[in-house]
Symmetry: C2
Subunit: 447 residues, 2 copies
């Protein structure tokens, strides 16, 4: 029976990062992957969606840039080419991960990992043992059990990434990040899109004002909030709207984006404690079983690729000597790659109030920002909001809707993680002309 210092199950952004780091430390490491290197993020999540959303953005720009001087006589979208570009991106990244594993002497094994009660793991009838195990098995799309959910044209975010032709009407069930990004993608490509969301607003972690602005900017999408889907048939989705009225939307393709469920099978086989359908971990990602850690979506703490990578760092550091690091969840950025983009980091106003802070808030329109205007015009909307602790003047949260939000938000992570104060940011010089200036202006307005 092959023995390793560390067995990592799952090669997503948590798993491959953990394996690579441990390998670099000279440990013998085995990674077990049941499907494709990179996991959901690389193959059916972050990467393919961003590739296609970028294609859609370029398509929209090609269609609508006359006022800025770009004239075209014909613009069309070649879905097969966009899909090929997406696949090339995935292939390149997969190769990169394979190379990373090789360069840090990590063994990679493809197959389904079965956990045994003695702590060993079996793949295709062969068992492996590890001094330590990191469970990084990720999550899967959750399906809601409604009539018609099993129909062929009802898909998850995985299958929809391989459609070969555009539908006429797409119905998106669930207005979280995944649902909204696909709604943006398909509506930009000319598909009539309806989003049906159970709660009273899309993008739950966004400030209501920002989520509302996003809905307003996604003009061609019909949003139904506080709406409950009851049935799907070949051509329609039936739902109860916010007023209790029965409604239908047409749809020849239905995306079920109603959340994700941790893949806990392996953890359960190993006897790890599960609560509320996720593996229970402490702040260094330890489970109840000695030397068994669980990182990424499977522990349900923060279902984001970069959270998983950070958990990998904390878990491996903890395993191999640096026990000073703890997983913190208050400065993890998030981004929605719609047009405009939405991003945030830290506490929202309501969360800060709930935690008892003496909250001070400010928000600024981007409309007076030079670069924003130069690139988007005065009718475009963009907004930045900042939440501050009124006592210490430490910045607790930053959110924004506008261009480049996804590439600006890491600065918010630096600010919030470092507990910087309003007066400290006041002395930082931001580049002109850049949309980022609005962040400083919003913070300055709290001075």
């Amino acid at each position: 029976m092959a023995h390793y210092d560390l067995i990592v199950v799952g090669s997503g952004p948590g798993g491959y990062e953990a394996a690579h780091k441990a390998g670099q430390l000279g440990k013998t490491v085995l990674v077990i992957e049941k499907d494709a290197l990179g996991g959901v993020c690389t193959n059916w999540g972050c990467i393919p969606t961003k590739s296609l959303l970028n294609s859609a953005k370029l398509y929209e720009h090609a269609l609508h840039s006359q006022a800025k001087g770009v004239i075209t006589t014909g613009v069309s979208f070649d879905l097969a080419a966009a899909m090929k570009w997406k696949q090339d991106t995935i292939d390149t990244l997969q190769k990169g991960i394979a190379y990373l594993m090789k360069s840090s002497d990590v063994d990679v094994l493809f197959g389904e990992a079965i956990g045994n009660r003695d702590g060993s793991i079996t793949v295709d009838g062969i068992s492996y043992t590890g001094e330590a195990i990191i469970i990084a098995t990720g999550s899967s799309s959750a399906m809601i059990p409604i009539e018609g959910a099993q129909l062929d044209h009802v898909v998850t975010s995985t299958e929809i990434l391989s459609v070969e032709r555009l539908p006429e009407h797409l119905a998106v069930i669930g207005g979280g990040v995944i649902g909204v990004e696909f709604a943006a993608l398909f509506s930009t490509l000319g598909v009539k899109v309806s989003v049906i969301e159970m709660t009273d607003e899309i993008i739950p972690m966004a400030d209501k004002e920002i989520a509302k602005l996003l809905r307003r900017e996604m003009k061609s999408v019909d949003f139904y909030l506080s709406a409950r889907v009851v049935k799907i048939d070949e051509k329609h989705v039936f739902f109860i709207d916010k007023d209790g009225k029965e409604r239908t939307v047409e749809s020849d393709l239905v995306l079920m984006s109603t959340g994700r469920m941790p893949n806990t099978a392996l953890a359960e086989q190993l006897g790890v404690f599960i609560d509320r359908r996720a593996v229970v971990v402490d702040d260094v990602l330890k489970t109840n079983i000695p030397n068994v850690y669980a990182i990424g979506d499977v522990n349900g703490k923060s279902l984001l690729a970069h959270s998983a990578s950070r958990m990998a760092e904390v878990a491996v550091n903890n395993l191999y000597g640096d026990t000073s690091q703890r997983m913190r969840y208050d400065a993890i950025p998030w981004a929605v790659y719609t047009q405009p983009e939405v991003a945030g980091c830290g506490l929202s106003e309501s969360e800060a109030l709930r935690r008892g802070y003496n909250v001070k808030c400010a928000s600024r329109q981007m409309r007076s920002n030079g670069r924003f205007l130069a690139e988007n015009g005065k009718k475009a909307s963009g907004l930045c909001t900042v939440v501050v602790d009124g006592e210490t003047r430490v910045i607790l949260g930053i959110q924004m809707i506008g261009p480049y939000a996804s590439e600006m938000i890491h600065a918010a992570a630096v600010i919030i993680e470092s507990e910087l104060r309003v007066d400290e940011i006041a002395e930082v010089v931001f580049p002109h002309p850049s949309v980022s200036e609005v962040v400083k202006e919003t913070i300055l307005s709290l001075k």
Copy 2:
């Protein structure tokens, strides 16, 4: 004779910011502007160039996005439309500044300010006195005195912003930021562009490696380095190349982008001390005359719009009570809006070595970054470099070439101004997938 608490001469990003801030503090303020509100930045600098560069970027995307699925026919560039969009942006921002002045009760006077030895300032024969004066008169394009420089087709960055038709051959004399941005703009629009630079590399503040990458990415531009222009005629620019050989390039338009000279006339009239053609100021922007400050390009310290705005904050704070702030120049970001963009903040490796630091450096290609690949493909180049103090592990400088650099670099300003260390950034979570991840990876490689 009208008397004010503060007279500000010049309404660029230094002047209008100073006037606005003082007005908000309840001071009586007069701003004198000889031309247009917003100064060079708004009218003939940052803003119009970024507007046109954005149009050029959209044009290039419309031409070359087939591999990503965007098929176009009949793509052409409508220069008049792009110019109109640019002018609309300027008009909107000018109105914004006018509104800002009004909202903070600042008087605005248009005309040329003449300084008098008694400290008063005369405009159109009427004199004004101020308890304090802020000189924010900016700078002008420097012309090098060579044969042919007076010809009609030899222009500065001001006139070139109003060309009504594209030239066939543009020769750019000077490969600094201004020259390179115009080279990028015109070459993207199909003009054959030559850049003739006196030193051995373009973009003086950039790391050599980054500047070289930018030249490589600007494939259609001919760069002549270590080259000295000797003569211009109706159709050519004559220069001595790096090997001492006489050469010519064709050009029906010549851009003279050979630096900028502080506008010191007013300062001289007021009797302010000038050295090396710039107004001498201390670290709170005071000149040798009590209550006379000089901010922005006129003091020659840092010829950037955002430096001027920061100087405005420091000068006004110092004038009206908060004497704790000092002008620092080590964490001022800069950006070049080419494709790809280039940006930096803090010390370059050579500057850090010159100052005696035990320098540690790292650089990372962007090629393994998911978003970079998804949007640019594996042949595109992008690079991030980081300079660290080997003793304290404080991050001293960050530079990058790649998409979104101009919107990412404010995070570097936060990091460097706050003197954050490698180990602190190691615990910050950066969003995935974003190009910004490369910054963390580069820093981590110094761990």
